[in-house]
Point group: C2
Chain length 338, copies 2
Amino acid sequence: MTTNQQIHLVSRPNGEASVDNFKLMEVEVPELKDGQVLVRNHFMSLDPYMRGRMNDAKSYAVPQPLNAVMQGGTVGEVVASKNEHYKVGDKVVGFGGWQHYSVADAATPGVLRKVDTTHIPLSAYLGAVGMPGVTAWYGLTQICKPKAGQTIVVSAASGAVGSAVGQLAKARGCRAVGIAGGADKCGYVVSELGFDACVDYKAHKDSKSLYEALKAATPDGVDGCFENVGGAVFDAVLARMNAFGRIALCGMISGYDGEPIPLKNPQVLLQSRLTIEGFIVGEHMQFWPEALKELGTMVATGKLKYRESVAQGLAAAPEAFLGLLKGKNFGKQVVKLV
Amino acid sequence: MTTNQQIHLVSRPNGEASVDNFKLMEVEVPELKDGQVLVRNHFMSLDPYMRGRMNDAKSYAVPQPLNAVMQGGTVGEVVASKNEHYKVGDKVVGFGGWQHYSVADAATPGVLRKVDTTHIPLSAYLGAVGMPGVTAWYGLTQICKPKAGQTIVVSAASGAVGSAVGQLAKARGCRAVGIAGGADKCGYVVSELGFDACVDYKAHKDSKSLYEALKAATPDGVDGCFENVGGAVFDAVLARMNAFGRIALCGMISGYDGEPIPLKNPQVLLQSRLTIEGFIVGEHMQFWPEALKELGTMVATGKLKYRESVAQGLAAAPEAFLGLLKGKNFGKQVVKLV
């Protein structure tokens, strides 16, 4: 028998999440049944949406169960197989959770997908060529619907989703403007990722100052907004939207800990005839092949850059996850297990 | 020379609008130039959007100019014509403003339109078969996109727009639920207009009570929302929206007087993957013929009912307009001039 280590959710946060909500457990790996595959996870993905699922509240996903392994995306290698389509050594992306080994019902469509690591690093399938990349692609192309010459603003711009949004917008001839926290992140967004400008929201503590900085970065207003953050940052972007502007609402991380943060001036939605659309990329699977094709090609050819924050070892996951919620990561947050 | 009476906007509101913002003036009617038509206005339309235009703020329309006649929709009769397409006695709908006589540049497309009063009363062209009706039609059919069996909620349900929204929704096999202020209005919405239910927001002073009443009226949740009011009423509807619900944002009358009223829980937009679209019906002229055809047929055949609040005489317009902003009207607010 192989011993497996897992991290369970053992309590729900009351306000801010903490390491006490998690517990490292040891269990035995069960015997494989017919059709199943055993995967040694190499990287785990940490994503903001997990915070929402820690609450026992009505949302788009059922809550993360208590006293069960934390769910989440993983990439790894097949180490045992009772499924003819998978052999030992295959690299796979799946939803293995916060653990070293996961047993995958590989016969169920969508559970596991073989990936090619010739030109694309394995961990990228958790980021630029994975769920975050497709999230960026879907929200930008299907909701913001940018035209060349338009201005696209994205918050959390150095993150896994935001960095892809801006580079995809640039590839479509748009002006890409990021919003990120800190001079380091903003510098990276402009110099490395090629955005046209980036506003450091941490340098602007009041709403007027933030608005003025955003105004300077968006002289022609904003046509498309890809919103990952909510709160004061979103209020500022809304005030810069041009008529008929389009807003892809992807995340509102600023309100995840408890009381929702109100939208200060909803009248602007009417005054500027804006469209807001909230979306979850997993509900639009028909777009994934087209999105992954563009994202994979761009990563393989160096046209889509990304950065990773790599936490070392399973036990580091809770701390890394809490840091992600506070913006301490820089780029896609993963946990390296092997 | 004919003497004309007009109402001018002479000052902008600081907070709540008041009668002092308006002034009754007497001027001479100018000589007609070639192509022009002189219209004796029979009815003036009073509409909530006029309040927004009284402010000197960035909005979808240029502000109503100071010391000029209040702009607005009118129906009337041609009393003099230097345009071959219009003859004395023609009934017309136009944008004549708050005055007895208006000179229309009838050669300019869209300025004046002849209407048939055989089966449709003249004043209806300001309401159910005019801008408010088309507003209802556009927001419902093009934004809410209701399917038979779905639940549509509309605020200001006894008003010119709201009453049409619910009846158009019923004609499409939907459950129509109104929100209105007072037992009289709610009774009318259900018994006369045929809505399935109507929530009296004035009977529910706190948000929990309002939510519970709305929940009882929408046992299957809400699929489409036609929002005319904003504020607490909108917050309650948002909390009842089903996944992928669609919201036509037509008005936010509750915040017109000054400080915008925040949207309390914008996270619901993401959690329920909602779409909100703000719109101004004048920007979608291509839909007017189709909309007016359906609305006109329904009114002529008694299938679209409406009610009017009729103020008597030009001088009564400011008071009637301020009452409209407070919901004192019951149905479409017009001013009868003849």
